[in-house]
């Protein structure tokens, strides 16, 4: 079928033209501090190219792990979907327990040509540090997709349960007319974790559409921030955006914060933003328990219901895994 899926170091040898053409085209080395650091030192990562008209028949999946102590990891991912092609890619990540912090500064670039679709899903489970907040990964990642072609579509789905600190805003530049960007996110923070995550939807072309669904769950002393930009450019006629940001608080020492940035430069735009923050319902917990479900099962059930709109965007087997991961990361949050 001509699908290329290999490590970056191999891609440089076998497909230097593609690498030269696209590397740094969406996230240039001048983008931000961590992108510059990554661009300077990165040694490997994953590379995907789907040729014209090819629908990738299976999920492509990679798994990243940080093993070494006192280290940083700087991988890169580059995915190109040529005209009329489609691909679904999933990455998972874990790291063993360490008392010292480690840095993860990755860069992910996606390019979708005319009528191409890229679905990019992440289950991020880097080591979050211990109960006192000692150790854990600093996860400072730059992820951006370019909907270059007309009617192209990029969907980001992320389940963020790990890392001590996460700064991550997977975005879409909706350049092609009629292109679509989507962002579905579940972020949990327990103990002393901090997650500052969201998306950037930059509408450039006409009739572009974006959807943002963000679910933040805070427990323990965790702090959860949604930070999102919706920018409608001067020429983006009839652009549409719908954003929904819901926060769920478990306990009374955690926090949820929402910072939506809206920059609208075209009067034909339709932009909607809905947000809610609520404490996990004591009455819901009691109802579940009265039916015989133990406290932790009750919480897991309510939380997974809260996240349903995001989980259903994940490939089937990963939705099940994400749910289990969520219950592990919230363990001991109430009691």
């Amino acid at each position: 079928m001509g699908i290329i899926f290999m490590s970056f170091s191999e891609a440089v040898q076998h497909h230097p033209d593609l690498v030269k053409k696209y590397l740094g085209s969406v996230v240039p080395h001048t983008d931000n501090f961590f992108a510059a650091l990554n661009s300077a030192v990165f040694s490997d990562g994953s590379f995907v190219y789907v040729p014209k008209g090819v629908r990738c028949p299976m999920e492509l999946s990679t798994y990243f792990r940080i093993n070494a102590k006192d280290t940083g990891q700087f991988e890169r991912t580059l995915i190109i979907a040529d005209e009329g092609s489609s691909v679904s890619y999933l990455e998972g990540c874990t790291a063993p327990m360490r008392d010292e912090n480690q840095l993860h500064a990755a860069v992910v670039e996606l390019v979708a040509h005319d009528d191409a679709t890229i679905k990019y899903s992440t289950i991020q489970n880097w080591y979050p540090g211990d109960k006192e907040g000692k150790g854990g990964i600093y996860n400072f990642v730059t992820k951006r997709g370019l909907c270059q072609g007309r009617r192209s579509k990029i969907t980001w789905t992320q389940v963020e349960t790990g890392s001590a600190i996460t700064w991550k805003y997977p975005g879409c530049i909706l350049q092609g007319d009629g292109s679509i960007g989507e962002f579905y996110s579940v972020a949990t923070t327990n103990n002393w974790q901090q997650a500052d995550t969201g998306t950037k939807m930059v509408h450039v072309g006409k009739n572009t559409r974006s959807t943002i669904v963000s679910k933040g769950i805070s427990a323990g002393h965790g702090q959860n921030t949604y930070r999102g930009l919706v920018r409608i450019g001067k020429n983006a006629k009839n652009a549409r955006n719908y954003s929904q940001c819901d926060s769920l608080l478990i306990g009374d020492k955690c926090g949820a914060h929402t910072f939506p940035y809206l920059e609208i430069r075209n009067t034909s735009a339709k932009v909607e933003h809905e947000a809610s923050t609520s404490k996990i319902g004591e009455d819901q917990i009691f109802y579940c328990r009265q039916r015989g479900l133990p406290l932790e099962d009750a919480i897991n059930m309510i939380v997974s219901g809260f996240c349903k709109e995001v989980f259903r965007e994940l490939p089937m087997e990963f939705a099940v895994e994400a749910q289990k991961l969520l219950s592990v990361s919230l363990e001991g949050s109430v009691g």
């Binding site: 579940c288 328990r289 009265q290 479900l293 809260f306 349903k308």
Partner: protein, 247 residues
Amino acid sequence: MLDIRNLQVRADDKDILKGIDLHVNAGEVHAIMGPNGSGKSTLARALSGHPEYAVTGGEVTFEGKDLLAMDPDERAREGVFMAFQYPVEIAGVNNANFLKAALNAKRKHNGQPELDAYEFISLVKEKSKLLEIDDSMLKRAVNEGFSGGEKKRNEIFQLALLEPRLAILDETDSGLDIDALKLVSAGVNAMRSPDRAFIVVTHYQRLLAYIVPDYVHVLSGGKIVKSGGKELALELEAKGYGWIDAA
């Protein structure tokens, strides 16, 4: 089966139950009646372990075990079921999945094998007919977007699935029209059996015309002020609660 001795309960910084004594045997249906604010629902919620109702005195034994020492979910798995006055909505949680989790939690507790999806569906089919629970009610999120009548039917449906030893109905008749009331009552009556007991909390006699109790107790000011047979409910209906307070 259930032995309540001198039960005292506090909620919202107020003493609500001020010494309740009640003995319930297997196979019996006890109605708890009384004016608004008399503590009827407090009794139901305290027995099921609601965290906002603090027991300040007294004892409750269920099947010889100390009920008050158990967590709410432990009480449920031991066989205490409460049909809620206001059933709670849980967004995003499929009703059928919720019921299956509840049933399997109980089966596990009783040392029975958990039901798989196929066995569960056959059981649901069998139990759903009487209460006219259709597929759409099972596929929707727990109680979300249910009408008042649907919510109450869903409660009794759960009662039928979970087969508790003791079922407490907390104002199950409130907000029901006559057709829904008949349906719900038929569901409850089908569950009456020599080894199951019911405590039916209600403000009105009309429910007791369909679910006929063996005993009627009248609560007032946090105490049981009068007990009798089913004819006591009719007397209350005719004379009002003022008659009890004056007596």
